[in-house]
């Protein structure tokens, strides 16, 4: 990905530009690739090891592409009490990936997030900005099956 047009927005090349710069790049590209980190390092004159250290400090930055269906499982207090740990285990089994990963087909990715802010509907999950609420493991199975069928129908 060419990030030249984003770099131009930070003409002063200051150290403190690093995080906003990475955020913008991730907004467009979806993730930070090795190549991008090298480019940013050259531009801001910061070691790539430093950039990687900063980026891994924040949960928001990712280093691989998202799946077509990005699952964000809420792990706030209310969801936790309502059984989100069971949902996480179920989801890991269904998708064969753990939190922070994308499956080999590039279809699904999974992320555990803190409170989404809909505690009355706990436990819930967000997939591509759609919310699925009051979930049970069975409902989750149906949801994943639905996505899989949809994909097969397209092919």
């Amino acid at each position: 990905m060419d990030v030249g047009h984003i770099l131009k927005k930070f003409p002063n090349r200051r150290r403190e530009d690093l995080i906003p710069l990475l955020q913008r790049i991730q907004d467009e590209n979806g993730f930070l690739s090795e190549e991008i980190i090298h480019t940013v390092g050259d531009y801001l004159n910061i070691s790539i090891n430093k950039i990687y250290g900063v980026a891994t400090f924040y949960d928001n930055f990712r280093f691989g592409p998202l799946g077509k269906y990005h699952f964000r499982l809420c792990h706030g207090t209310a969801c936790h009490v309502a059984g989100s740990t069971t949902l996480l285990k179920e989801l890991e089994k269904l998708l064969q990936i753990t939190s922070g990963e994308t499956d080999k087909s590039g279809l699904f990715s999974l992320e555990v997030v803190s409170c989404i802010g809909a505690c009355g509907l706990a436990p819930l999950i967000e997939v591509n900005e759609m919310y699925y609420t009051n979930l049970t493991p069975d409902a989750l199975k149906d949801l994943v099956r639905l996505f899989r069928e949809k994909e097969n129908a397209v092919i």
Binding site: E34, I37, I46, S47, I48, N49, K50, I51, Y52, G53, T56, F57, F63
Partner: protein, 577 residues
């Protein structure tokens, strides 16, 4: 302004603005720390230096707290002692606990603290992190499982060496020190200086050990194991034996290694002499405006005897490559001497020689592994031992250097001049090169040689010496941050009055090298330097050309630049990295 504060019922005088820790240490209160480093800004990461201050609700970290008027401090109250002990216990709860199998057993700061805090049982049981060691580098090994996250290595790598080859990755209980994308050190920008090993309190950073390789070679009948000892190593051993004992450290090293099974023990000092001669010759050539096949005549000439500095230039300053001296480093010059000149003279096959150098440096391990330092695919130097590994080898063979009788090192390489000692500390090599240049160009009837080095380790870093009716500027820097600052300054001011810059990547030069014994502090760097200075005063030969070993090497133009093999022997090829 000075005022008094009260520590455990004792009044002490303190300076306004200093930290509580420095005031306490000056007054012989031993405060434990893991993250504190002298001359660095406080980090407050390990929290072991906590003390209780009257009127303050929480314990405070003395390393990051300035002294205040009327302060009443308690350094050994129940609360302080309990807090420190808990901190150590928590560190231990995520530690592999394999002291018996650990290279730093017996000289590990965490182990000492556990003993000092009287930790006798395990109070915290938790899941330990599983991190795997990284042996990918040619010089520095990492074992993140033993890391206590004190940040000393990260800070020295970033602030002193400007390299930032490692940083904290991830956060919380997943934090570890690693390079980008969790790749090995060999893929990072590491310059192999080994300063991280010097500051690491535990065994999280170690050298890539060559001890077993050497032991295996010593066990083979068909191999002639030749040891070559660097002058800085001799200084370090002298320091360890106690300089006042008047022991001839080099002779004791030779005696010990002979008992180990070495077929020859050489003094590597002669290679430093050759290196100084070559640098002076290249400098004279460049001053005369000639390119000479070793470079394109760029001034100032920068020394290339330090492999870490060379790697830094290759990776970060490719624009300065033309300034580097074309001379090989002393280790590689000696490697060639042993495997080519000596082997030829004695009629020994190259393959049957196993050449071991003992160096104060871990970067030499990296240098010896470089392709440009091989001859027909075989390394010129087969193994490099640091001072630490050298002692390990002796201990493993049941030899104690303090008990040895003195045996002189073997000929033909057993002589060195004062220049070899000078090359061990910052500023010394610049002086040696200046002296040689003076001998080459100056008229001794008209000019007198004057070159005053400051006594301290850091300090004035340039000097002008009139040589041959011309003011020649010599400069010296140790550590990359000093080098980068100084060269930037020269470039910004467009100065052309400096002609030679000696760069050593470790603070204080090779006497403070990454391969020297750890946990001995900066005091030992100073005392090793003092030993070098003392040794050069007593040296039999003052100038490299006085060294009787040099003449046969240069006889018949063998090593002169118009001989094509000379470049192979002495010349370096530096590529961008």
């Amino acid at each position: 302004m000075e005022f008094q504060i009260k520590i455990n019922n004792k009044q002490i005088r303190v300076q306004e603005g200093e930290t509580l820790l420095s005031a306490l240490r000056r007054n012989a209160f031993r405060i434990p720390t893991l993250c504190h480093m002298n001359r660095f800004s406080p980090s407050g990461a390990c929290r072991l230096c906590v003390v209780e201050v009257e009127g303050k609700r929480d314990l405070i970290t003395s390393c990051s707290h300035p002294v205040e008027q009327g302060m009443r401090v308690r350094t050994n109250s129940q609360r302080v002692i309990r807090a420190r002990k808990s901190l150590v216990e928590l560190l231990l709860s995520n530690h592999p606990d394999d002291c018996l199998y650990c290279q730093r057993n017996g000289h590990c700061e965490l182990q000492w603290l556990a003993e000092e805090m009287n930790v006798k049982e395990r109070r915290f049981f938790g899941k330990k992190n599983t991190w795997y060691p990284d042996y990918s580098s040619t010089s520095v090994a990492r074992d993140p499982a033993k890391c206590v996250l004190c940040s000393r290595c990260v800070r020295i790598c970033e602030e002193v060496q400007l390299v930032t080859a490692i940083d904290f990755i991830s956060r919380g209980n997943q934090t570890r020190v690693n390079s980008a994308f969790n790749k090995g050190l060999n893929e990072s920008s590491c310059i192999h200086c080994g300063q991280c090993i010097q500051v690491c309190p535990t065994a999280a950073l170690l050298d890539i050990s060559h001890v077993e390789k050497v032991q295996a070679a010593l066990g083979k009948e068909s191999q002639q194991v030749i040891f070559s000892i660097s002058p800085s190593v001799v200084a370090s051993v002298t320091d360890k034996l106690g300089f006042k004992s008047k022991a001839k450290a080099m002779d004791r090293i030779a005696a010990a290694l002979n008992r180990c099974g070495a077929s020859k023990v050489f003094d590597l000092g002669i290679a430093y002499d050759v290196n100084v001669l070559e640098d002076a010759r290249i400098l004279a050539d460049r001053l005369a405006g000639n390119g000479n096949g070793n470079g394109n005549g760029a001034l100032p000439l920068m020394s290339s005897c330090c492999p870490s500095w060379v790697k830094y230039v290759q990776s970060f300053r490719p624009g300065s490559l033309a300034h580097l001296s074309g001379a090989k480093s002393p280790q590689q010059i000696f490697g060639t001497l042993v495997k080519t000149v000596y082997a030829e003279q004695e009629g020994i096959a190259r393959d049957s020689i196993f050449s071991v150098t003992v160096m104060p440096c871990v970067a030499e391990k990296y240098e010896a592994s470089l392709e440009e330092n091989t001859h027909k695919g075989v390394s010129e130097v087969d193994a490099v031992l640091t001072v630490r590994e050298f002692f390990q080898l002796l201990r493993g063979s049941g030899l104690d250097i303090a008990q040895m009788e003195e045996e002189a090192p073997d000929g033909p390489y057993n002589t060195s001049s004062a220049a070899a000692w000078k090359a061990g500390y910052s500023g010394g090599k610049a002086e040696a090169v200046a002296r040689e240049l003076f001998r080459m160009l100056a008229d001794p009837k008209k000019e007198r040689f004057k070159f005053n080095l400051p006594k301290n380790i850091s300090g004035r870093r340039e000097i002008k010496v009139p040589i041959g009716g011309r003011e020649i500027g010599f400069a010296w820097v140790s550590s990359i941050v000093e080098a980068e600052d100084y060269i930037m300054h020269l470039e910004e001011e467009k100065r052309d009055d400096i002609h030679y810059i000696e760069v050593m990547a470790c603070l204080g030069g090779c006497v403070g090298g990454g391969g020297q014994p750890v946990n001995r502090g900066f005091e030992n760097v100073k005392s090793r330097k003092r030993i070098c200075v003392e040794m050069e005063k007593n040296a039999l030969f003052k100038l490299p050309v006085d060294n009787p070993g040099i003449k046969p090497l240069y006889k018949g133009k063998r090593l002169l630049p118009d001989n094509p093999t000379a470049l192979e022997w002495l010349g370096n090829r530096f590529m961008e990295k």
